[in-house]
Structures are given as C-alpha cells and as structure tokens.
C-alpha cells in the first residue's frame, strides 16, 4: 500500500510552501482584495519563473514534465497561501484542457506560453444562475464565430484567451477564443472574494475554433473533473491554514482565566474540524491517484474530492470566525479572507449539490 506522495513530491511541496511563506504572506492576498488589481502580478511572475505553471506540461512544450501528483501538492500550497493569482484558471482548467484535448497545433501554440506565464488562460462556462447541463449552454460557435455571454468567468478580465463552452446545433464543445481579439467585450464584475477577479464576457462574432477533439459534454465534464481534483487540494490547503491559525489564536486568547482552547466546547469543535479536514484530505488523495493514473474512476473520485473539500473549507472558515470571537468579524483580521475564498471555491466549478448528484450518477454508470 503506497497511498501517499513520494519523498520527492513532499520536498517539492515544502519548497513551494517555503517560497509562498516568504513571498505570499496573507497581506499579499489582502492587497489584491483591497485594491483594483485583478491578481498579484509580482507573485504570478515569481511562480512562473520557478516553473510552477508548467509543472505537468511535457518538456517538449516548454514545461517541467512532472505529473498530476506534483501539481496536486503545489495546488495545496497555493491554497494555503490564499495566493491571489490565476493559478486555477490557467493551470487546472486551461492547461489541463489543452493537454488533454488540444490539437497538436493548439498545444504548440499555447502550452509554451502557458508554461512561461506570458499567456493566461480562462475557462468560461456559466451563463446564468443555477446548474445546467449541456442544454444550458447558450453561447454559439457558428462558422468560426462565437456569440453569447458568459458570466462569471474567473480571471476573465486578465486572461489572454479562454476555453468557452459553446454549442453548434445539438453539439456542445470547448471553443478556443482570443480574448484580446475582435468581438470580445469584457467587464470586471464584483465578486464575493475580490482577491480572485471575475468578469462578464460578451462575445459578438469573436473568431474562435474548437479545441481539438473536445466536442461533447462528456469531455467538458472531464475537464471539470480534472480541475475539481486539483482545486480540492487548493481548498484543503486553505482549510488547513484556517484551522492552524484558529488553533493558535485559541491557545493564546484568554477568557475566564484560561485559554479559550481549554474550553471543552472549543476543543470538541476543533477536534470535529480536524476530522472533517482529514476525511477531505483522504478523498482528495484518491482523486489525485485517479487523476495521475487516468483512471476510469476519476469521475466519482473527483466528485467525492470536491464535495468533501468544499464542505471542509467552508466549515473551517465559519469556525475560524466564530472561534475568534468579535475580532473574527472585523475587516482587519484575516478570517474573512478565508471565508470569502472558501465560498467562492465551493461554487467556482459548479455547486456542491450538483457534484454530489454527479457522484450518484457515476456510481450507477
């Protein structure tokens, strides 16, 4: 039984953690949240230079040629730092989709630029509230021209190109579009988590092409599954950080002559939170295994990983505020950075409700 990351992968994780501890303290996330910046360009440049963006991109396309296990541990560190960068959009979604479904020409055109960080990719799917399968895709790709509106698109305002779920007649697939080209009009929109920018993008006859062989809902779902596993690690990192900060706070905060951490109600709630995070971690590990082995189990593994991680992070962020007492409710304290990020990530790839429904469907398949 070897259900763990290798020593090399753990070393990679530690290196990433140390880098982010130095270059991405929570003040970096806060700076983006409090400003009009879409992301931290300095941090993005830093991680790009370290080769993080090309972790799972083969060397022939300018990447480091590692696998999804390496990507998973990096994602956890990105999450732990609440790093305000388009890592999920560009790496878990755009890069993974192109690697998996892109034509050779598309791979050669885009992957090196994704690896270097000179191009950012986004993934545009949602069009209106609720959860919709293929029948909810209204954006159309007709004769090489894309029309429709996507909102919200994570990093839609800063990305150079996007993969857009679109239909052609009865078929749905992923369209590749240059966001800096004709027929694209985008506006940044306000997010519950301003440290991660969102945009509304209107396509009016924007030139676009299909992404390689991504011409069915199954393929779109597969891209989402891959991203779900990686994002689960990011959510885990955030949950763990929230937990660690809360534990430290409770140990140092005194009331009624003793540390708040000595009250049994707090002890038990922290024990329960620890349990939820560990269960989520175990489910995420299985997702990582399934992803790195291209297993047919990926669908159910991804759904389980995502649902568990979303719930664990959301719980951690709520308990964090509650256990900090009144100061947890202040802008000044970092609790709300986690509260916001947890909630956004919980819906960023679609609702937890929908992912649990997916899980049941896949158990039946």
């Amino acid at each position: 039984m070897n259900f763990d990351f290798s020593d090399d992968q753990k070393l990679l994780q530690k290196t990433a953690r140390d880098y982010l501890a130095e270059h991405a303290p929570l003040s970096v996330c806060r700076a983006v949240l409090e400003s009009d910046a879409s992301y931290s360009e300095m941090l993005w440049k830093g991680v790009a230079e370290l080769g993080w963006l090309g972790t799972a991109i083969p060397e022939q396309y300018g990447g480091s040629g590692f696998g999804r296990l390496e990507l998973a541990v990096m994602a956890e560190e990105v999450g732990r730092a609440l790093a305000p960068i388009p890592f999920s959009s560009s790496v878990y979604l755009a890069t993974e989709a192109i690697l998996r479904f892109g034509s050779e020409a598309q791979k050669q055109e885009l992957l090196p630029k994704l690896a270097s960080g000179e191009r950012l990719g986004a993934f545009a799917h949602a069009e209106r509230p609720g959860e919709h399968g293929p029948e909810g895709v209204g954006t159309k790709l007709t004769k090489g021209k894309l029309s429709g509106t996507k909102v919200p698109v994570a990093d839609g305002d800063s990305a150079h190109f996007a993969l857009v779920t679109a239909r052609s007649g009865k078929e749905v697939g992923l369209a590749l579009v240059d966001l800096t080209g004709d027929g694209v009009s985008r506006t940044r929109v306000r997010s519950i988590d301003p440290s991660r920018s969102l945009a509304s993008i209107q396509f009016n006859g924007a030139p676009a092409q299909w992404l390689g062989t991504a011409k069915s809902w199954d393929e779109i779902q597969h891209v989402l599954d891959r991203a779900a596993v990686l994002m689960a690690f990011e959510q885990l990192g955030g949950a763990q950080r929230a937990f660690d900060i809360t534990r430290e706070f409770c140990l140092g905060r005194y009331a009624f002559g003793r540390p708040v951490a000595s009250f049994q109600a707090i002890k038990h709630r922290l024990a329960d939170l620890y349990v939820e995070i560990e269960l989520a971690r175990s489910n995420a590990y299985y997702g990582a295994w399934a992803l790195s082995n291209e297993s047919p189990e990926l669908g159910r593994a991804a759904a389980g990983a995502r649902a568990a991680a979303s719930d664990a992070f959301e719980l951690a962020s709520k308990e964090m505020i509650q256990m900090h007492g009144g100061v947890g409710y202040t802008w000044e304290y970092d609790c709300h950075l986690f509260y916001r990020r947890a909630k956004w990530l919980a819906v960023a790839l679609g609702s937890t409700h929908q992912w649990r429904e997916q899980l049941i469907q896949r158990l039946e398949a």
């Binding site: 000595s262 002890k267 269960l279 175990s282 082995n293 049941i360």
Partner: protein, 415 residues
Amino acid sequence: MDFNDTPEEAAFRKEVRAWLDANAERLKPGENAPGLAEGRSSPELIKRAQDWQAKKADAGWACITWPKQYGGRGASAIQSMIWNQEESKYRTPPNVFGIGQGMLGPTIMVHGSDEQKDRYLRPMLRGEEIWCQLFSEPSAGSDLAGLRTSAVRDGDEWIINGQKIWTTGAQYCKWGMIVTRTDPTTEKHKGITYFIVDMQSPGIEIRPIKQINGMSGFNEVFFTDVRVSDRNRVGAVNEGWRGAITTLMNERASIGGGGAGGPDFTDLVRMAKQTQWDGRPAFEDSDVRQRLARFYIRLKGLQYTGYRTQTALSRGETPGPQSSIGKLVGAPLRQDMASFAIDLEGAAGGLIDKSLAPEEGAWQQTYLASPGLRLAGGTDEILRNIIAERVLGLPPEIRADKGMAFKDIPTGANK
C-alpha cells in the same frame, strides 16, 4: 501512489492465503462471516472458536505480533493487518479471544512477573483460556480512575469487594484482569492495583446486562469477598494505573472504525431503488440522492484514511494521528445511515419483524445497536478530548478532583 503490496508483503500475503486455503473455507462473494452474536454465546460456539485458535497456534499463526518467546512470530503491524485482511475472507468462528490476546496479554508482557508470563501467555494464545477485562464500574466509566472496587490485603492474599460492569464475555472466561482501589487516602490514580482473577472464584456473580436491542453481550460482575493471591498481582501495589494505561493503549490500537458487518452502502442504495415514493423509486428523489452521496463520501473518506494508515505501517512508521478518527466518524455514521434507511421506508420502517420488514429488519437492528458503538471503547466525547489534547495539543481538562484524596472526591452521592 498505488495500492500494491511491497514484494515482501506480497510474499507474506501469499503464504497466509495458502495456509488459510488449506485450513478454512472461503466466504462466497457478498457473504459475511457470522459475527459474534450478542446472545449468550453458546458453549458450542466457544468450542469451535477454540478449535480454530488451536489450529492456528499449532501452525504458528496465532497472535503473530506477539514475541516469539511467547508463541508469536514477532510479526510487524503491517503483517498483522495483512493477516486480518485475509482471515476475514474465510468462514471462521467469531473471535472471542480479542480482549485477552489484544490487550491483556500485552499488558502482562510489560508489567507481569516472569511467573505470570510463563503461566498465562501460552494458554491465552492457544485459546485454551479466555480472558475478560474488568475495568468499568457503575460509577467509573469514562473516569476509570474513579473506580471503587476495593482490594484489601490479608496475608498473602487480597480480598476484593465491589462491582464491574460492561464486561464482555465474563460468562465464558477463565481469567479476568481487574483494576481495584487499594488506597483511598491518596489521589485516585495513585491508589490502584491490578490483579489477575480466576473467574470461577467463590464470591463472583455474573449477571447479563440487557441492552436496548434486547441482546446481552455485556455483564455486571459482582465481587463479594473474592480472594486473590498476591502472586496474581500485576505490577507493584498502588501502581496498577500504569498497567491500566498499557491496557487502554492496546485497546485504542485494536479498535478501528472497521467492518462492523451488517448492512452497508450498497444495501442502502438497493433499498432506495426498491422503495417507492409516490409511484417512483425513492432513489430518483434528489434529497435521497444527496444524502446517499454524503454517506458515500464519508465512508470513502474513512476507507482512504485506512489506506493512509496502512501505508505508514507498510513503511514501518507509526501511523499518523488521523488513524484515530475511525470510531468517532464510523459509529455515528452507522447510526445516521440506519436512521435514514428507516425513514426511507415510511411507517414500514417501524417493523422489525424479519418476515415483514425490508432487508429482514437489518437496518432496524443496526439502529438499535448503533448507540452502543458510540459509547463502548471510548465515548464520542472522550475521543474528541483525546484528539483535542493528544493530536491537536490543546490544554487538558480542568480536573475538579486534582490533588484530592480519592475518599474526598464528590460523587453526587456524597455532596
């Protein structure tokens, strides 16, 4: 990342399987080995269990983690895990030796005299003598150190008076290990002495406890002037708490979240498909599907956490603290699943009649049995304290009885 045995583990597993194939019958797919029914285990069942144990002992497969000098193999934790995984696939008698072999034998190995080790360990391993644990009392469960059963010295014997409770298997055991109060004038955990007691001694009365599910797996054991030789004292006088800790540590190690038997997730799904709600299978209802998904995710979380534990054992490492969450998560989960299953059935969920109830009333039985799992072997609340203090390093509970002589500790009866 993979789920494979190392070459050494694979070889060991092959050896285990070969012996089991030659000496036991394999279970059919989907079949469970009959568990220890909570009835008053019959002499016939005990005999079968002992025969199987002797067979294993003769071949060197009994208590494989015990040191060789006591009849074991000195096997590693991962080998023990592999053995258990394989043995569970065969139709073998229920294990009635777990308490002795899992907890009390290891206690004797650490704290017992040479005479005790020579006399007791081999028959324990062979299953010739079965052991019970005499710990909890009506006024001392979670607070075990608050025990009241007394032992008073009389020459080279001790006289024991008091009562133990929740004693599994007392009715068929030859020996018990009992923690007693030998000095009430000092702090509670400093006045405890540990003994081995012959369960056939005059003055011992065993009464079954009827549980809420009607079964009686546990007993009260009453001690009236029971005499125990000082040669059966385990460890020094008034230092029995140390031995008790050793016993409890071994208990924690052996109680996993694991396979309680009974209906499982696939049974729940099947039932949801067969049960009709408004003319359609309940399985098509969104809320039902959401609940099922939540159960599945939690069950898998436990299973994969078990893989992480096994990985650590395979590397010869101590499993991480997440290994301690099995019972805390598993027991309430079982109760919730049973509650949900009953709700699915509507009013028919109130039936427990095997011939009428869906799934022969298995979920109803589970619902009635499951509160016990949240209490035995460490209550949910104690487990949370343990995680909080030992894993998360949070401050210990404030002890209202700290520094007090045992006889002065408030009990509710002596305000």
